[in-house]
């Protein structure tokens, strides 16, 4: 009961937030929603099923390009958004099929290579992707007379989809799939012993993670109204990885906290001009040195300290 109240208050705060925000902060919060959606996908793949993916920016980019290019063909946003996810998910399954036979640092490298290759395709195949100049003039959607063109309205659209993404991830984690993911993540051999077809579930975890990233990409393109290959490099994949590790892997709250830190951190620290990147790097090292389980642990401590038990299930 108290838990629902707590989340209700948070959602209410998020709903009235735009009233207090300037253009720019509104954009940053909107961007955070998009990144959380992508990070949730990576959390399913890596946090739960323990399969490293360093090509999440590729999935993200495929979603974004699907949106940008099909919108230009006059398709409807509402049709493209699921397609963004599906294309990315399919791509994830196609590369996962050969790649998932490997694990750990081999899988990490295969996915790095895939990210670099997709970046080059986006860069060079101008007939399809517009090349390095990217796709501009991306429009925002509307339903009937309700238009999401303005930044505030688009914020609300993102907020709704963001909450949906979180609920979907909670549902997946608690479903049969989620249990299988965790079983594989903890001990692949044992999971196989319990009759879980580990390869199929690994593939599924990869594809579902890619699906979330694709949807995130589909939301990202209209937010920026411009996309170019630079937004989907291997370094962006690293940022997603950093998000879930800093936040806390294998926890629903992990990607949310992580995305807030990674997207907003530089923005807050930007006051120190170019020095913020140093501070940011230093924080990464310190978290790894002294707070291995991610910042979620801080939240846990806090929760233990507050007598009324607020918060979600583990």
């Amino acid at each position: 009961m108290i838990r629902w109240l707590f989340w209700g208050i948070i959602v209410a705060i998020l709903c009235v937030l735009p009233r207090f925000l300037g253009d720019y902060t509104l954009y940053v919060v909107s961007l955070t929603y998009v990144y959380v959606t992508v990070a949730i996908g990576l959390n399913l793949t890596l946090g739960y099923a323990n399969q490293v993916s360093l090509c999440h920016a590729s999935f993200f980019g495929i979603g974004a390009y699907t949106m940008g290019l099909l919108l230009a063909q006059g398709w409807s946003f509402w049709l493209i958004l699921p397609l963004s996810g599906i294309f990315a998910g399919l791509f994830g399954a196609v590369i996962g099929f050969p790649a998932l036979k490997w694990k750990d640092h081999y899988l990490a490298l295969i996915t790095i290579a895939i990210n670099i290759i997709t970046f080059f395709v986006m860069m060079q195949e101008s007939w399809l992707t517009g090349g390095p100049t990217g796709v501009s003039g991306i429009t925002r959607p509307s339903i009937g007379s309700l238009s999401f063109t303005s930044d505030i309205n688009y914020y609300y659209l993102l907020l709704v989809l963001f909450i949906l993404a979180i609920l979907a991830s909670i549902w997946i984690v608690n479903s049969k799939w989620g249990r299988a993911f965790r079983a594989i993540g903890l001990n692949e051999l044992a999971a196989r012993g319990h009759g879980i077809s580990s390869f199929n579930y690994k593939l599924l975890a990869f594809a579902v993670g890619a699906f979330f990233a694709g949807v995130g990409g589909g939301l990202f393109a209209p937010l920026l109204r411009y996309i170019s290959p630079d937004a989907f490099t291997f370094f962006i994949s690293l940022e997603f990885l950093i998000m879930i590790v800093i936040g806390g892997m294998g926890r629903i709250e992990g990607p949310i906290i992580g995305a807030i830190i990674v997207v907003m951190g530089p923005e807050v620290l930007r006051m120190a001009e170019a020095a913020y990147l140093i501070v940011y790097s230093l924080i990464l090292i310190l978290v790894m040195l002294f707070m291995r389980g991610g910042l979620v642990i801080v939240l846990d401590r806090l929760r233990e300290a507050i007598p009324a038990r607020i918060g979600s299930r583990r």
């Binding site: 490293v52 050969p98 490997w102 750990d104 640092h105 081999y106 990490a108 490298l109 295969i110 790095i112 290579a113 895939i114 670099i116 290759i117 080059f120 395709v121 060079q124 690293l238 990885l241 950093i242 590790v245 170019a274 020095a275 990147l277 140093i278 940011y280 790097s281 230093l282 924080i283 990464l284 090292i285 790894m288 040195l289 291995r292």
Partner: protein, 290 residues
Amino acid sequence: MANFIQLLIGGVSMGILYGVVAIGFVLLWQTSQTINFGQGELVMVPMFLMVALHIVLKIPFWPSFVLTLLGSGIMGYLFERLMIRKLLPGGVLVIVIATLGLSGFLRYGMQIAWTPQTLFFPHLFSTKPIELGDIIFSPEDIWNIVLISVIIIVLHLCIKRTKLGMAMQAVAQSRETAELMGINVRHIITLVFVLNSVLAGTAAVFAAPIFFVRYDIGIFLGVKAFVAAIIGGFNQIRGALVGGLTVGLAETFAAAYITTAYRDAFVMILLLVVLLIKPEGIVGIKEEAY
């Protein structure tokens, strides 16, 4: 034919440079299961050190070189003592992320502490081209190939023949058994980190005249060396060398005969092909054998 030989020299002279940085990757992985994403920065920092000593302070080449290697060694020592030792129990992913942080810290630190500009570095060898019939090549490339080869051979002999080298191999093959022998594994790991940094420092001095000196060169070198180490075989020193040469030659020949537009992508495709056909790398040994 002349064309082919020239491409060969170009590819090898780049490849051997990637190779020597990749050897460090392999040493770290073998002895401590560390994947160091800050490897490129371990090359970048000595480059700046060399500029500071040789060009700014006008110290002659050889003393600067020795001091640079000394500085590199100290950097490697601190890297292991202050970071890696605490991180090792956390596993590969924790180290990957922390070394990413380190890489950013050194890179942007150098940019702010010194300069975002690219700094000049003179050629180390004569630049007068040598002509042999149709083939034209530069003494710089030849010297780089020869000297780096010598360094690698000496390193190889040290590891194969000396007592410390044997201890390093022992730690790489089984840490606990090495301890049974009375080998101080911690010291060996520290030593390997120092050795890795010194190698990277050496690579820096050879790379500086080719790349010039800039704060963000580490990303480029680090990724190339990483790929080289995987392609060649992550658990073999000769694997790093083979990988480096493969990467250098592949990008040169692909750029010359297919297209330059996908130059860096070719290397990645090669990486995928190698991983799918022979995941332990060209000359690597299956890890299951351990």
